[in-house]
């Protein structure tokens, strides 16, 4: 069986492609899993996260009642350590000295306390987290080969390519789409691509990438790629690489140079002038 569903969620366009075995309702169930994460983690409409943020912004602690939000917070705390603290969904330009360090998360009590006002924005992590849950659902439903995409920057695959072997992907240069930055083969893995330049980076809904160390916006032209067994981990790593300084980047890349990539582009690089591709005759 080969089928596909496409829908809007997590602020982008999601595609789920399934090949071969699996229950008939596998893709529908995977879609529901992604939408459930979106409902819990979004900050663009009322959600468990916005309710939490209201308390945190007011300087108050809060109980974490939503199971998905709780699981996301547990995952984030683990990822903080593996990314040198550079992945920080609480980094906020409004509160330069805030960030995750202002948060005390008590897993046992399912409660957050804070030392100063903060707000959470899960950003790309939410997409990876959602794809992980969708992949888990597909596996439960007997799917052995699937490709899931949340926008162009977050991909997860279940099993091997339907024709065998890994799933071959080519990561395009964000400024010169005809060029390839790196080619990868994935099997039961996820890839996350983060970039400060390229199409869509100036979209009004897109939040700037904040450097957690000083709450400044990362403006240097850079693109990062991270592969991991879990999408949430790949997202955290690509984000950390994007905000890392030279030493931090070396330490993160040394963790797995075949699965983590950082591309710095010349200063002044920007969205390519598309008018150059127009060849109208006068």
């Amino acid at each position: 069986m080969t089928d596909v569903v496409r829908f809007a969620s997590m602020g982008t366009r999601v595609e789920l492609h399934r090949f071969g075995a699996g229950d008939d309702d596998a893709l529908t169930a995977a879609q529901r899993a992604i939408e459930a994460v979106d409902d819990a983690l979004t900050i663009h409409r009322p959600s468990a996260t916005t309710a939490l943020n209201e308390r945190l912004m007011a300087g108050q602690g809060a109980a974490i009642d939503d199971a998905l939000l709780f699981e996301a917070l547990v995952t984030i705390e683990e990822l903080r350590a593996s990314t040198l603290g550079l992945f920080d969904p609480a980094a906020d330009r409004r509160f330069a000295s805030a960030g995750w360090s202002a948060i005390a998360f008590d897993r046992g009590a399912a409660r957050i306390e804070i030392s100063q006002p903060v707000a959470l924005d899960f950003g790309g992590f939410g997409k990876g987290f959602a794809l992980d849950r969708a992949c888990a659902v597909l596996r439960e439903k007997g799917v052995v080969s699937a490709c899931l995409s949340a926008g162009e920057s977050s991909i997860a695959v279940v099993g091997e390519h339907p024709l065998g072997g890994g799933w071959p992907f080519a990561i395009s240069h964000p400024l010169r789409p005809d060029e390839i930055l790196v080619e990868l083969e994935l099997t039961d893995e996820s890839v996350s691509i983060s970039s400060t330049v390229g199409a869509g980076t100036n979209a009004p809904e897109r939040a700037a990438m904040i450097r957690p160390t000083d709450a400044t916006i990362v403006s240097a032209p850079r693109c990062t790629v991270a592969v991991d067994r879990l999408g949430a981990h790949a997202e955290a790593m690509s984000t950390a690489l994007l905000v890392a300084d030279e030493d931090q980047a070396e330490r993160l890349l040394n963790g797995d140079r075949t699965r983590r990539f950082l591309f710095d582009f010349p200063r002044g690089a920007a969205i390519p002038d598309q008018s150059a591709r127009m060849s109208f005759n006068d």
Binding site: V4, H17, I180, S195, G198
Partner: protein, 421 residues
């Protein structure tokens, strides 16, 4: 500007019109333009003698353009408001006769045609009087205050055998003609929608000088004499829409309001309309008087590109991005395993394209002069410029039909009782 400079720029302008209208397609689409551009110069004593009715701002602008032509001359002027008449006198030879009543001007003779630049509600009677006096008529747009009056003017012109020409300067503007040519050549694909707007930051209310009445000066603001934005501005752009679509609308719906300038005016200061054309094509039109951000523009939208003639720009649509994952599906189905290109920032809803596009490549020139050279040629030969009157007639009808749609809240179908041209 010296005479030589003027001749040079004039030749350049005419050359551009001829270039823009070259080819069989354009000869059919805008035949009036090349005919006007090819009008022969005439010795001063043999020029077409025009009597200008109305020497307000627009009338005086017309007098100045007539002076640039090589086949027309202003032989008389007329205005019932002394201040305007005095300003008109300052633009013509001292020997040019001046009148305060247009009938007196017609009775005095010595004219081949009249130029009407008066409030809209006067156009029909003044053109009737001129036709009855055996004269040809050049009349400012819009044609008349009602659709019936527009039709009556066309009919009277036909019955009298005299030329009736309406002032729509965009029909002689090289930028527009070139844009139409390129659209007809298929550069922007199939035209399906035109968005047009004329937005101003202005009350449109003029100070009333001593000796004049508000309704005399601000006639555009009152229903008796004007349909406001529809007849003063929209009529230009509806004509452009008709020209690009090569059709007239099938029906129109709209909403109008006095939304901002609540100063006693009777005409809308905000209008929004949709004109439908055969095949589902649309003109989406807005005009308002308290926000000039988007100004005056027509966006001619095709499947392969967009033309913005007021900005003189043409844009090409980028080819749609290949859906990599969709291709992967097809590959797997055919037993192929190919690398899937991905990457770039997360997809977001399409943003406006801000790249400038290419220039249509034509400079500015006052095409009103060319209109009059064309009119002069039409008067001299007794043959109207081909295709021109129907363009103006349909544009005026469409603008007035839009007013009816807004007033009634009903969808108005294109009238079936129009005069055949």
């Amino acid at each position: 500007m010296t005479d030589n400079d003027f001749d040079l720029s004039r030749r350049s302008f005419i050359d551009r019109v001829l270039m823009a209208t070259a080819g069989a397609g354009m000869a059919a689409a805008a035949p009036w333009a090349s005919t006007a551009a090819l009008a022969a110069p005439v010795a001063k004593g043999d020029r077409v003698r025009l009597g200008v009715i109305g020497t307000g701002d627009r009338g005086r602008g017309l007098i100045q353009n007539i002076a640039k032509t090589r086949n027309c001359t202003v032989a008389a002027i007329c205005d019932n408001f002394e201040l305007h008449l005095a300003k008109g006198r300052a633009l013509v030879d001292a020997s040019t006769r001046a009148f305060t009543d247009h009938r007196a001007m017609l009775d005095a003779g010595g004219l081949d045609a009249v130029v009407i630049a008066t409030p809209l509600d006067l156009h029909k009677q003044q053109s009737f009087d001129a036709f009855d006096a055996g004269l040809h008529v050049w009349c400012e747009k819009a044609m008349a205050r009602t659709i019936d009056d527009c039709s009556a003017m066309v009919k009277r012109s036909q019955d009298s055998g005299k030329v009736l020409q309406i002032g729509h300067q965009r029909m002689f503007k090289p930028t527009y003609l070139n844009a139409v040519r390129r659209a007809k050549e298929g550069e922007i694909g199939s035209l399906t929608q035109i968005r047009a707007s004329w937005h101003r930051q202005s009350s449109w209310r003029r100070p009333v000088p001593a000796g004049a009445t508000d309704r005399q000066i601000n006639w555009r603001l009152y229903r008796d004499s004007s349909a406001g934005l529809m007849t003063e501005l929209a009529t230009h752009q509806i004509q452009v829409s008709n020209l690009f679509f090569d059709a007239v609308p099938t029906r129109v719906m709209g909403s109008g309001s006095i939304c901002f300038w609540k100063d006693g005016r009777e005409v809308y200061d905000h209008v929004a309309l949709i004109y439908e054309y055969a095949g589902g094509r649309k003109l989406i039109y807005t005009s308002l008087l308290n926000n000039a951000r988007y100004g005056c523009e027509e966006q001619i939208q095709g499947s392969k590109g967009t033309i913005e003639p007021e900005l003189g720009r043409i844009y090409k649509e980028l080819p749609p991005k290949e859906l990599a994952l969709l291709r992967m599906q097809a590959d797997v189905a055919s037993g192929k395993k190919r690398t899937v290109p991905i990457g770039g920032a997360t997809w977001f809803a399409e943003l406006p394209v801000t790249t400038p596009g290419d220039s249509l490549g034509w400079g500015e020139y006052d095409e009103t002069m060319l209109q009059f050279e064309g009119f002069g040629e039409a008067v001299r030969t007794g043959k109207p410029l081909p295709g021109l009157l129907s363009q103006a007639y349909y544009a005026s009808v469409a603008s007035l039909l839009g007013e009816q749609a807004m007033d009634s809240g009903q969808v108005m179908a294109w009238p079936t009782s129009l005069v055949a041209i």
